[in-house]
Symmetry: C2
Subunit: 210 residues, 2 copies
């Protein structure tokens, strides 16, 4: 997900410029969506001319995809930081939810922009949308994995249902917070969500064994 540094490049501020362009883009795209993100606006926000943007990125599609990629890296780093891997299964699930909540508060750009792209269905699907769905599947797979590890005895279908429900709850609560702002206590809500999902999981596992 990060560029290999084959040749040392200190002489010009190319790398820094690239970051500044991405910073400006994630801000604007997170506010106005794909179509609403104009190259002129990005240029004004980062202080670099349009030609520089097109030197660093092939086209607008490429720029948006790069933003998704980088903001996913940021979010993934935030969500994986404190690896609380001790305690009861319920405690571990709750800690996981708390991490997700904090990371979504600290780095909301990834999910906000991603959901906007995901809801749009234009004829020629932009690369950014595909990229979002791909990295989202990675997160989904990790959740499924965790479910199987912490709640033994779950059949395949139950895991799928629980995973879908878990992701949906996170998405929905995130949307609520985006709409209502700090009035929504994302940490508390996601902890509640984790608890409810965990209970549903244990019940499904018990039913599956019987």
């Amino acid at each position: 997900m990060t560029k290999p540094q084959t040749t040392r490049q200190k002489r010009a501020n190319g790398v820094e410029s690239r970051q500044r362009i991405l910073d400006a883009t994630v801000e604007i795209a997170g506010e106005r969506g794909y179509e609403g993100t104009s190259i002129a606006a990005v240029s004004a926000a980062c202080g670099l001319p349009a030609s520089s943007i097109y030197w660093h990125f092939k086209d607008k599609d490429d720029l948006i995809a790069a933003v998704i990629e980088r903001s996913f890296d940021t979010w993934l780093a935030a969500v994986q930081l404190p690896g609380e891997e001790t305690g009861t299964p319920l405690e571990r699930v709750t800690a996981m939810a708390r991490n997700v909540a904090k990371s979504l508060i600290d780095a909301p750009d990834f999910l906000r922009l991603g959901l906007m792209l995901a809801l749009e269905r234009r004829p020629a699907e932009p690369r950014g949308r595909t990229m979002f769905l791909q990295v989202r599947d990675i997160a989904r797979a990790k959740i499924a994995e965790t479910a199987e590890a912490l709640v033994p005895g779950l059949d395949e279908e139950s895991v799928q249902i629980l995973t879908t429900y878990a992701v949906a709850g996170a998405d929905g609560l995130f949307v609520q917070r985006e709409i209502n702002g700090d009035a929504v206590d994302l940490v508390a809500m996601l902890e509640l969500h984790a608890q409810l999902v965990y209970e549903a999981a244990t019940r499904m596992a018990a039913r599956s064994k019987a």
Copy 2:
């Protein structure tokens, strides 16, 4: 929400034209979002020139707001149709969730376009977004009302938490279905959601009494 028919107007197809414009707009806006919805595209889709669109609607903002308004009416009619008002509280909540699921499958435009508008945060907020948030609060109030009626003993804060969680689950599951298509059984997932919310509610009520 609907126009009063003061004078009979049979001579020209004005009312029908208005509907055709709204139909075309909801289709395009549901695919491409606010900025992606061009008057030219709407004009091509409904077969009427741009001037007709501007005769029926003040500007693009007005057009999108009208689409939100009409699709909310459609959705509200769908969700209120079969008034299952008998049975245990859990059965009633589940029936309610089933109605919501069916209505979202039959008339997804309202929520899809609304969520897209809600996630966007442009400087000059479009009327369509405000309209969506308003009608969404209506739905939210109805859920809170139902919670208090079916689960007595809930304090104010618990009602707010439960309502937020209930709406978030519906939003999130809807998004999942928009992304993954028919692979997501929206009816089953929302029934599960209703069950989990109901159990959480009874537990909160019990804890509140103690």
